[in-house]
Subunit: 130 residues, 2 copies
Amino acid sequence: MQDALSQTFQALADPTRRAILARLSKGEASVGELAEPFLNEMSLPAVTKHLKVLENAGLVLKGRNAQFRPCQLNGDGLRVAANWMEQYRVFWEESFDRLEAYLKTVAAPSRPKPRIESKKPKGKSHGRKK
Amino acid sequence: MQDALSQTFQALADPTRRAILARLSKGEASVGELAEPFLNEMSLPAVTKHLKVLENAGLVLKGRNAQFRPCQLNGDGLRVAANWMEQYRVFWEESFDRLEAYLKTVAAPSRPKPRIESKKPKGKSHGRKK
DNA sequence: TGAGTAATTAACCTATCGGTTAAATATAGA
DNA sequence: TCTATATTTAACCGATAGGTTAATTACTCA
């Protein structure tokens, strides 16, 4: 995994790591605190490894306080990834417009009244629930 | 790779695949056209695989026209990833503010007057040379 | 100093990733 | 039908990702 951007996206491509980031978005936490919700599913060293991935990706900063390693979000990695994404904004917005327009044509004429909310109108998901 | 979001970030975590997306942002292209810039570095089947990853991640749509498979960007995957990132905007903007503020303290006092416009004033090495 | 807590490192295992070459499939057109 | 072009599939391979357990390091505090 050569470049920084690949490293950052790679780090984001794991649900455990994203959960750790979500936790950190609510405030600083030690390794043990971060690990706690996962200890049924995996060991502490596994979490340590995830944290190292996040740290190397510029997504987490780790400090030290006695035997604790307080972690916090690092905006740098997030910003780099977001900046890259930004160049494609026009594409995702345009396809969202198409989706919206489509939904309008489906929902429109006389409001067919969704009888039962069971059949999804199409597409693997992305369906606005109501 | 269970969930869609992980799949999408995983797909973005490769420079070849990002280059393919960049190419597609300039317009539709066939597999062969997409592969062409990489054929020194890798084989055609390798590119086919990358395209499948992008397709499965909801980042590319593949059609058919005779023996060609015209590809185009799929905004869906991009939108999903961007939406996820959005929740962290405050963090990357805040850390950017810190960076800006810091640069201001370094650059500030009497406007040192950029003598010659040769050395690029930035660079990934955030480190002030000199 | 020695016991207890927090976290990391080492060594190992398996599955997946990104690549290969060779063969197969899909389509057009003479 | 035969040939040429575009693309995919199959089978394989080495490296790495993500997990494990056991051992080690880093601290605090009595």
